[in-house]
């Protein structure tokens, strides 16, 4: 187990290093942040002075050297725009994204799995057809359009919920969270639905496919014949056996939502890290973009690790073997 973990972290480290280098040199090639940050009225001497102050006058490999030097001391660089450590900037925005992502995934699971099972077990019922058509619409319409429609319906026409932004927050263990206040929850619900729709459609389809297949297996018939309650047959014998693909996909999707909820965060003006990334790319704020993507890679590797461990709990045949995954 330990060797396995070390190996996984080694992989993560390698990917992070490659990613950092690509992003670093890539953003250097795009342009000079000073062109965007400086007031146009600044004269040539001031422009040069600013470039020098931000260390952008040095050749790119020297700049990269400084970056690596900082990295060995745990310093991912300081934002050109905000003059704050890039990591601190990202971490300050992370709680907002995390609560959005987790509520979205939660909605997708608690609605998607039952709906998918219904559709799988009663494939010919009219309501199953409705569920399946709904899921097709759910994952075939663009995310930003769904977001705007939600805003138009619930915020503009009905006026039930706010159109965007994050509501009132309270501190939970020193971290500001909004899901514990009514105002915060009101602000959270529409973006969470926006995040959930696509994932839910995916979960519905995976669950349906699994359920319709598993329901015909001999052991299910045998369980029924033994007189087990329908709830037990559904909840244990069927559900447990269809969870593996659902968990895999949800794991990947969770990573996706956390790292790239950009669309939802932009449409709903949600102050998360996705919005920070987009703003930082627009301004070529290299330290923030590099730190962000390194963190993202780390996050993906960790989520995959959790998914692997979840497999072994769900399916006794899968065991995390020594040195192998």
């Amino acid at each position: 187990m330990l060797a396995y973990l070390i190996r996984r972290f080694g992989q993560a480290f390698l990917v992070m290093a490659v990613m950092a280098a690509i992003v670093f040199f890539g953003l250097y090639a795009v342009g000079n942040p000073v062109d965007l940050l400086i007031n146009p009225e600044a004269d040539l001497a001031e422009q040069e002075e600013t470039i020098r102050r931000l260390g952008l006058d040095k050749p790119v490999h020297v700049q990269f050297g400084y970056f690596l030097g900082g990295l060995t001391q745990g310093d991912l660089g300081t934002s050109f725009v905000h003059n704050r450590p890039a990591l601190e900037l990202i971490l300050s925005r992370l709680p907002a994204t995390l609560e959005l992502a987790f509520l979205g995934i939660l909605l997708a699971v608690i609605l998607g799995i039952p709906l998918g099972m219904i559709a799988g077990l009663k494939p010919d019922a009219p309501y199953s057809k409705v569920i399946m058509t709904g899921s097709v619409i759910g994952f075939s319409t663009p995310n930003f359009w769904q977001g705007l429609m939600l805003i138009m319906l619930f915020a503009v026409f009905l006026g039930w919920l706010p159109a965007g932004g994050r509501g009132e927050t309270v501190d939970l263990f020193g971290i500001p969270v909004s899901f514990l206040t009514w105002d915060g929850l009101g602000h959270l619900i529409l973006p969470a639905i926006n995040v959930a729709i696509f994932k839910m459609s995916l979960v519905i389809r995976l669950t349906r496919a699994g359920a319709s297949e598993v329901a015909l297996q001999d052991y299910v018939k045998y369980a029924r014949a033994r007189g087990l309650s329908p709830a037990r047959v559904l909840g244990v014998h069927i559900l447990k056996n269809i969870m593996i693909p659902v968990v895999t996909v949800l794991g990947l999707e969770t990573g996706n939502v956390i790292a790239f909820a950009v669309v939802t965060e932009t449409v709903f003006a949600w102050p998360g890290i996705g919005k920070l990334l987009i703003d930082s790319i627009g301004l070529l704020d290299r330290p923030v973009v590099v730190a962000y993507l390194m963190l993202t890679v780390f996050l993906f590797v960790m989520i995959n690790l959790v998914v692997d461990i979840a497999y072994s709990i769900l399916d006794p045949r899968v065991r995390v073997k020594r040195g192998k995954s």
Binding site: N32, R84, A155, V156, A163, T266
Partner: protein
């Protein structure tokens, strides 16, 4: 709940006799300041936010005319080298401390020393060789040479409190470093509010990056008290989301509503649109130096843009009213000079040019290009209102005149890098002038590049005309307002005659507000919420 609050709003509007009720204003901004520190970053969103909490010595009114603020009056010496400012008495900072000359000196000391500033304000004080305070309410400034733009410079930064920055006792300003002040506060102290102490109509409450900036009314303000008890600025970068937030009643006012939505917003009875002329000119700049020049083909390596007849032909081929009507939805004013008529330095005798395709073709033929040539226009596609669409329209108009024109429109970060490396023969960009009027674009866009004199900083067309330079330099050394303006107008005439640069139009800035509210548009496009008020 929302219904109830709407009802309450309707009732309170009905009861006209009731004075200011529970008043809070929420605004949706298109971009967020990078810091609350008024001296950290000299850029639009920061300067607009600053105006709520920090005041400058002198200010620019809505039309960018110079008005008194923390200084009540000022005089200039006979030789134009010494300026004396008489400060307003009885002004208090948000922490109750009295404002005096020492706070201004401290501000001047901190300006060049703000840690890691990405766009420093140091240019605003570098002309001053000395800044002194003979008494608590007088400041004298001397410059090495007569410098007429000192007032505009001093209108550009907010005054901070020396005491709130941890400095007690007297301050003396020295250009090479102020004695007795070892270090200056990092901008962080302003973002968390510990040093955010100004004299303005609003006090800082909190700043959560990406989420909001909250301010409350300063009830001890020396001037007219602000209307709203609290104001909240929310950054909503997506234009569609901004409009939705306004329609949903989440925010009361938004800046930069998308041009294509304006007609719909105007028809909506829940929303009012306010618009005002701005000082931002959208212009085309020619490559005056490259030979061959990168974006032109079919001329055997010659740069046709060096010929004034070709430049004139391009100007005549562009139908500005058509662009304004079809592309800008009427939200622009045609331009021939670099600043609009209401600003200083315009030669009022110069009339707008009428598009004339026949004359354009004749001039091209006369210049030796009867069959035209090929040309690529560089343009950003996310910087100015409809920037790439304007470039495309210009390209079609030039193609009709015989110059086969393509558009190379890229995102702003890439555009500026390529422009600064002189990769465009003709490029579209914008320039928002400060209260300095014509002097602002003259010294930056068309004066010859000269690092020592601080001229030509954005002259990426590398235009160089010694006759013009002489006039600009003379204007920049003439303090007497009438003579200064006459020289600026003279320079403007030279540019127009030589078609050194091609102004297309001045942007008109729209704002959308909840019905029943109004505001005073500012020519610098800043959204200053103190001017938002009920319409009646």
């Amino acid at each position: 709940m929302k219904k109830l609050s709407l009802l309450a709003a309707a009732l309170s509007l009905g009861a006209l006799s009731a004075p200011a009720c529970a008043q809070s204003l929420v605004a949706g901004f298109a971009s967020e300041p990078s810091s609350i520190d008024p001296l950290y970053h000299n850029l639009g969103p920061n300067n607009a936010t600053r105006k709520h909490m920090f005041e400058s010595l002198i200010a620019e009114g809505p039309n960018l005319a110079i008005i008194p603020k923390l200084a009540e009056s000022w005089t200039t010496s006979e030789d134009g080298l010494t300026w004396t400012f008489n400060l307003r008495k009885g002004v208090k900072f948000h922490d109750g401390g009295a404002f005096s000359a020492r706070d201004f000196l401290y501000t001047a000391c901190r300006i060049p020393n703000v840690p890691n500033s990405p766009s420093s304000m140091a240019g605003f004080i570098k002309r001053a060789t000395s800044i002194e305070a003979p008494d608590d309410h007088t400041i004298t400034v001397t410059t090495a040479a007569p410098y007429p733009l000192l007032l505009t410079d001093f209108a550009s930064f907010g005054v901070i409190s020396a005491s709130a920055n941890g400095h007690s006792g007297a301050v003396s300003y020295k250009k090479e470093g102020c004695p007795g002040i070892e270090s200056y506060l990092d901008s962080k102290a302003y973002n968390d509010g510990s040093a955010t102490i100004g004299t303005g109509p609003y006090k800082f409450v909190k700043f959560v990056p990406g989420e909001n900036i909250v301010m409350k009314r300063n009830d001890d303000y020396w001037g007219e008290k602000a209307h709203w008890e609290t104001i909240t600025i929310r950054p909503i970068t997506n234009a569609g989301a901004r409009v939705a937030a306004l329609l949903a009643g989440d925010v009361d006012v938004i800046e930069k509503p998308p041009v294509q939505d304006l007609d719909r917003l105007r028809k909506n009875e829940k929303v009012d649109v306010v618009q005002g002329a701005s000082s931002r000119v959208i212009y085309l700049h020619f490559d005056h130096a490259g030979e061959p020049t990168p974006g032109i083909g079919g001329t055997d390596g010659k740069n046709p843009l060096k010929d004034v007849r070709v430049r004139k032909a391009i100007s005549l081929a562009i139908n500005r009213p058509l662009i304004i009507d079809r592309i800008m939805g009427g939200l622009a004013v045609p331009a021939r000079q670099l600043v609009p008529d209401f600003m200083v330095g315009v030669d009022k005798s110069i009339e707008l040019e009428k598009p004339d395709m026949k004359e354009a073709k004749r001039l091209l033929a006369e210049a030796g290009y009867p069959d035209g040539f090929t040309l690529t226009i560089g343009s950003p596609n996310d910087r100015y209102i409809n920037d790439s669409k304007i470039a495309q329209t210009v390209a079609q108009m030039l193609t009709r005149a015989g110059i086969k024109t393509d558009v190379d429109a890229v995102t702003a970060s890439v555009f500026f890098k390529r422009r600064n490396k002189y990769e465009f023969s003709l490029y579209l960009a914008g320039w928002g002038s400060s209260g300095a009027g014509m002097a602002s674009p003259l010294r930056a866009l068309v004066a010859s590049q000269n690092k020592e004199k601080g001229l030509g900083g954005t002259n990426r067309g590398r235009y160089s005309n010694p006759e013009l330079d002489a006039v600009i330099e003379e204007a920049l050394a003439t303090v007497e307002p009438k003579a200064h303006q006459a020289l600026l107008a003279k320079a403007s005439k030279i540019i127009v005659d030589d078609v050194a640069i091609l102004p297309l139009h001045f942007e008109v800035t729209p704002w959308a507000l909840k019905a029943g509210l109004t505001m005073t548009p500012r020519a610098d496009q800043h959204t200053v919420l103190t001017s938002v008020r009920p319409a009646n």
